[in-house]
Every structure is written in C-alpha cells, then in structure tokens.
Symmetry: D3
Subunit: 178 residues, 6 copies
C-alpha cells in the first residue's frame, strides 16, 4: 500500500522528455496512481507550445509503453486553460477523479494547491539543466542534438510530424508582419 492514493502531475510537456518519465517513476513509488494533466491543451504551433495536446498524449502513451510503465496506474488527461488562477484547482477537482496530492516544481502551481489545502510533492530535478522543455525547444530551433534528452518514442513522433520544422516555422512568425 502506497502512502498516497492518486497524485496529479500537471505540466505543459512541450515536449515530453526523460525528466518527466523519471518523475512518473518517482511518483509511482509514492502513490497508487498518477494522473498526468496536459495543460494548455488548446495551445500548439507556437514557440513555447509547438505540439498539440493530442501529440503530447501520444508522446506519453508511447513512452510509457517503451518504458514498461503500465497505463493501469497512469492516466493522461488533456486540460484547457481557463485563465482564472484562483478557480483553477476547483476546475481540476471538477473534471478529474478525486486526488489527494499534486506534484509540481512550478511555484504558481504549488501555491494554488497549497492555498486549497492540498499535499504538494516537489519532485527532485533529474539531470536538470538538460531535461528542460525550453532547452530542448531551443536545441531544436538551433539545429543542435536533442534526441538523447527525450524517450526514443518521442523522438520518433516528433520526426513523423515534422515537429522540428514546425517549431522553426512558427519561430519566424513573430518577426514577420506585412
């Protein structure tokens, strides 16, 4: 019997990287079930959010399979932003099954859940400085190597959708205006 029953793990996951998988393993040692919340589900095709929620779901599904992590204990739920911070936790309570804790290193997320009385886990950084969505996107845009920072399945998905080209394309949009 684990100490916790169901823990929410929210993030944008742009893209899913090896650090996220490490966190999931770390959480499964502490909780019966992990509920991955893919935030900003409506966003894609921007420099900070290149991938659709569906693509990010697929990244998790394939990576978990690759890592031998059972989906019996890990759910993946896309969630749109509501742009109303003080209501956000209540919104999650409404669309998710009951949970008792949250895992996040994001100070806003930590704050919002603490103000509502939740148990908050701050996972350790795994190879941090390397395992970072922002740094991976920058590597993609600058033509540097990035594939060793993500699960093999994620690299294959990004290749199959032309993800690097997409990211480079949208990065040019800010500079261009007719």
């Amino acid at each position: 019997m684990k100490a916790l029953k169901r823990i929410v793990f929210p993030g944008r996951f742009q893209p899913v990287h090896k650090g996220h998988i490490e966190v999931i393993k770390w959480l499964l040692e502490r909780s019966e079930e992990v509920l991955i919340v893919i935030g900003s589900a409506q966003k894609s095709h921007t420099v900070d959010n290149p991938f659709t929620a569906g693509e990010r779901m697929l990244m998790f599904m394939e990576s978990l399979k690759e890592e031998g992590i059972s989906r019996e204990k890990v759910m993946i739920v896309p969630v749109q932003d509501i742009e109303f911070n003080s209501v956000w936790v209540s919104y999650l309570e409404s669309i998710l099954p009951p949970f008792d804790s949250v895992a996040s290193r994001n100070p806003l997320v930590v704050r919002l859940f603490k103000e509502r009385g939740y148990n908050v886990l701050v996972p350790p950084t795994f190879m941090r400085g390397e395992y970072s969505g922002k740094k991976i996107r920058e590597r993609m845009m600058n033509g540097k190597e990035w594939k060793d920072l993500v699960p093999g399945a994620v690299a294959r998905i990004i290749d199959s959708i032309g993800g690097v080209q997409r990211l480079i394309s949208v990065s040019l949009s800010d500079e261009e205006e007719g």
Copy 2:
C-alpha cells in the same frame, strides 16, 4: 491484429451504465484501443447532466477494474463542449491521439464524423429500453430501482456522493423562481 487501431467512443455517460460497458467490450473485439470521450465535461448538477466529468471518469475507472478490462487498451478523456458543431471533429483531432474510427449511435455525431471522412461504427443496442441514461435518471428521480442497470462500482459511487438526492434537488430548480 485487430482491424482498427484506435476508436473514439464519445458520450455524456450520465451515468455510466451496463450498456456502455457492453459497447466497450464489443469495440475491443474490433480495435486495438478505445478512447472514451466524456463529453459536456463542464456540465453537472442539472437534470440531464447530474454528474461531474470527474465523477464520470471515476465511474469508468472503477467499472473497468470491476469488469477486468485493462486500462492499457482503454483511455478516458473528459472533453468540454465547444458549441461549434462544424469544428468539433477537428477539435477532437487536436486534443486526442490519432484515431481512425468513431463509435456512436447519436445521429449528429455519426453525421459530423462521416462528413469528415471517418469510418463510423454503430454499436448494437444492448438491452435497449433499459440501458439508457435518460431512463436511469428518470428512475432515480421517481424512486424506482436503477442499480441493476449500472455496474456495481457505479452504484457505489453514486451512493457515496449522494447522487440521487442531488438529481432530485436540481430537478426542483426549474419549477422554483423567486
């Protein structure tokens, strides 16, 4: 190898009943994976939509466990309405992993997916006339027996949240106005 890879099964599931479980079994014979889409995720506490998306997710999670259906092959995703029918399929394509078919008996859903070129499965009715969300809600409101129409897990969840009392409460709201 099944004929289909991933099939979407959208509904409101107010509440999850035995007919839904039968459909899922029927779909798993035809498809590698089933993606349950819990629609109208923002709705609850009304006569037609008494349960929150989170409660409906839990109903599926517990029923699948009870039935011995592995969540490796069945995902459950809450999805809010967009009130824009002609864009709805594109919206699902964006927030879900790739799918090749849809299963529905709802003529609007069937139509929208067919207009976008999707393969549509119309599942058979299982004990129809009995397995119907609307009829089950009516039974609840009228004090009739309803528990044999839903999986045992669903009955326990509805009891634990005072679901029948909630449904009766909200049914009175239409009549009352100060």
Copy 3:
C-alpha cells in the same frame, strides 16, 4: 453582534420585487452584512431576463434608499454566468469578499453551496404566489396590474426605460422567423 458575518443572496431579480426586499430585511436581522449577487448579468432583452444587470442594480439601489435600508450593510454585485455548475461556488469565492452563508430558495443553489460545506438559509416566502419574478413578468406581458408587487422605485425605473414595452417586444421574437 449578529450570528453571521456576511451572507450571499444570489438571484436573477427580473425584476426586483417586494419579496426580495423582505428577504433582505429578514437577512439583516441575522447577518452583519448582505451581499446581493445579481446573477446572469450578461442576460437581458429576453422573456425570462428582460432587464440588464445595470438596470437591476439601479432597482436595488433605489429600492433600498426608499426603504431606508443602508448600503453600509448591503452590497450589490453583478455576476456573469459561467455555465459550469461545479465550479460556480469557487468562482463566487474568488470574486466576492469572504462570506459564511448563502440565502436561497433555489434547490440548485442550495445544493451547490451545501456540497461545498456552506451554511444555507432558506428564507420564508413572503406573500408567495404574488411576489414572483415570473408572475410579475407574465402580468406585464398580459397587460395586468403589477406595480403593487414591486417597490415604487422599481416601478418608476421600469416605466422610465419602457420596460413593459421591451418585454412585450422580445416576447414576440420567438414566434417570428424570416
């Protein structure tokens, strides 16, 4: 010292009538402060919601003055619908000053606040059957007497904006379609 500190009194108030004023007096005997929440603030010019939120605010402001009820103890706040019942109480908590109770005869409102652990007061009906927004609107549409059911200030406001004519106009819209 009253038993309660601040009580929320939500409604649509289409229009403000004498029953509402009676409730406010009744609440002021029990609470330090009353927070009138004018719901469906975005709605107007329909059969069920003829008056704008601003017009309804004015009705309360003028009626309270007429009745000699101090605005020191009564606040009036227009609130738009969010169409997300399970999040509604949390939404009110976010945009209103702290409150400890709610007053309502609406079963949905009662239910939502009770599920969140609030103290709920159900005010008595005052001359009920007569003091009812719906009946007053029907009287207006049918050319019957209605002014004795609302505070004098409300009758003057409705007259000054051509409220009865507006109600009759919009009641015809449902029947007409080119």
Copy 4:
C-alpha cells in the same frame, strides 16, 4: 442618391430563400449599400441551424449572381453570437463598417437597434407563410417540395452538400440518448 447610405440586414438565413432576395432588392431601392449579417455563424448541424456560415455565405454569393445583383452594393458578413443582447449592437458597430439603419422583422432586433437610436426599416413580407426558413426546413424534413421557395443556386448548393439528409440526421439526435 438614395435616402440611406448603408443598411444592415441581419438574419440566420437557414437557408437563404426567395423572401431574403426580395428584401435585398427592396432595400437596394432605399439604400446605397446593403450589409447582410449572417448571424449565429458558429451554429450548424442542428434542426434550427442546419447550414454552416460558409454554406450560407455561398448561398448568398451564388443567388446574387443568379439574380444579377451586384456585390458592389451588397456585402455578406458572418457574425458569431455573443449571448449578450445589450452589447450586441455595439459589437456590430465595432466589426462592421459604419451604417445608418437596420432592416428586420425580428422584434428583438428591432428593439435593440431602436434603444440605441437607429433608424429601423421593417420590410414587407413577400409571400409570407411560404418564404420562411422554419417552414422550408420542415418541408425538407417531411419530404415535401421546397425547391421552389429558394433561389435555384441555393437548391443546387443544398443538394451538393447533402443538406436534406444532414437536416434529417440531426433531427434524430434529440430523440436518441444512450
């Protein structure tokens, strides 16, 4: 020189019918320019709103060509609902070029524009009882003749998109619930 400069003609146009074309001709005798506003642009695939805004735009474009009415003097603009009646005229003022009048038989539309001080034209009914969107949709659903009530171009468009089948499909959705 016409008496009016630019007149707004709002409607849902589900579908465009001969009465609408008659109104446009009648308006062009009185105004330099007509601005057709296709309302509820986000709605389609329902019994009351079967056609998308794009389909309705095309119906007008082809019908005007067929009738020899120049698009130099007639603009067609799709506009989404805002569900905020008291702000609707201001919303139209913001997204449309300046106009001085509105043409409508809809009492709500007439009321909203009059309250904002606009000149309102109520066009005569042309063959009314026959030229009615609602009646045409009912004829379609009941397998009756409807093509003589709409411009030839509209009949061809509806045929090409399978519009009658779509209408019949969605009319069945209200009755069905799993």
Copy 5:
C-alpha cells in the same frame, strides 16, 4: 448638489493604496456617487495581478470604513475583462447603473470613454512615484517597506492572506519550466 451624479472609477487596484483613497475623496467632492470598478476580476496569483477580485473588494470595504467614507455613496463592483476594447464601454453601460463620467489617468480608458462621448476626469497624482501599484508590488518582492503606502486595513488583509509570500511565489514561476 454636486456637479456630477455618478462617476465610474475603473482600475485594477493591485493592491488598493492610499492614492486610490485620495482619488475617491477627490471624486466625492465632485460627484454624488462613485462607482469603483475592479477590473481584470478574473486575474490573480500573477506578478501584475497578485490579488483576487474578492480580496480587492475587501481591501476597499475595510479601507473605506477605516477612512470614515460611507458606502452609501461608494459602490464597489468587480468586472471581468472582455478582451474587446471597442465594446468595453458598452459592456460597462450594460452591467452598471447609469453614470455620466469616468475618472482615470489611464490613456486607453480615457480614449475609449471620450470616443463614446463621456465626460472624463483625470484625477491629480497624489504623492505619485510612491502611490503606485507597480512600485508597491516591487517593494513587496524586494523585501522593502510598503505598508505606509497602503491603508492600514489593506496591510492587515495582505498579511492575513500571506500576500507577500504569494507574490514572491508566483514571481518565480516565469523562470521555472520543467
């Protein structure tokens, strides 16, 4: 009899400070009634908008009491953004009681109300450079003294909700991304 009847005073009030109280006093010399509009009511827990609308309402309620300013003449209304500048004044007209003027130093607000023909008052700066929401928030984040810039009641409220810690927490979120 004052020159003006009812004046709107919009702002974000993050947090309420002594300059705002001075403006209210200045306005009450010129107008029968002041309508404080707490804008961006949906925002909180960000660096620019740390406090909820409810917290900001409470700040005004307690500060007015402390200053001996009667709420008979001052209303406080939370208003959500609509992200549609050209419709914003019309939106306020709809949800507020009638007003004849606006008080603001914000050039956008001044412009929008002038384009709609309103009387605009630009209040003097009171101790400006000091009485500024932005500077107060920066002082809070940098551990500098800030309490003498806000009414005593505001300082107590911010302390009671851990407002400074909240502000510091959310200020870290921009830098962190997993």
Copy 6:
C-alpha cells in the same frame, strides 16, 4: 479561366497599406476570387492593433473603389481569433465559402494551411521595408510621414477617426499604472 477558384488572404491589416493592394492585384491574376480575412477582429485600441475590424473593412472597401478593383471578385470578412491554432483552419473552413488556396507570408499561417493540405501562395514583397503595418504605426507614433504608404482612402479614414491620436494615446497606457 484562372488557375485557382477562390483564394483566402488573411491578415490583421493594421492599417491597410499599398502593399496589401498590390497583393490583391497579384492574386486576382491567379484566382477567380479573393477572400480577404481581417483577423483579430475583436482587437482595437492597442499599439499593435489600433483600428477596429469595422474601420479596417471600410479601409478596404474605399481603397478597392479608389483602385477600380471590383468587389464582385473580392470579399472582405472580419474574423475573430479563436486562440486555438490547430483548429484555426477548420474554423475558417466553417465560416467561409469553399476556398482552394491561401496567400500569406506569415510562417505560422503557411504552416497551418500546409499541414491541412492546402495550396499556399507566398506573394512577393512590394517595396518591403516600406509597406509594413508595424513600420507605418511606428511612423504615426513618431510624427513621421506615413500617408504615402497607404491608399489615399485609408489616409482619409484614419484622419476622420483621429487614428493617429488614438494610436499615440494607447501607446502611453503601458507606461501608466496607478
């Protein structure tokens, strides 16, 4: 017979300038019909988006007339943002008549349409460096000459609405906060 039937030309057009007119002429050589999509229709009164959709529509209407370009072949449609990139093309398909191509130099727009299989035309730059909305707005704000960069009709419209003063006003709002 032109190679293409109907081409969509999306932009923000803040303001319409001579480069846009050149693109339209260039497109009319290649397509039967051009559909100008005025994006971000809900935006105005900001530094990047000073003009309302209605003002921008009028700029096109008057410029086309001035240039002798017939509106028989050019439609102008205001479209609000949906903040959901991956659904945006589907949204346009729904509210516009059928089109076969898109014309844009914006990399995001090019990418989104290509991912949906559309034919994309990248128009040449006409006097680029000069014909740029951003540069024209900067010239306006800095008191430099700008009228030779826009059609005469556009200059007259901007003058008549006090557009330069508006732009300067709103540019001050970012710096000001009480």
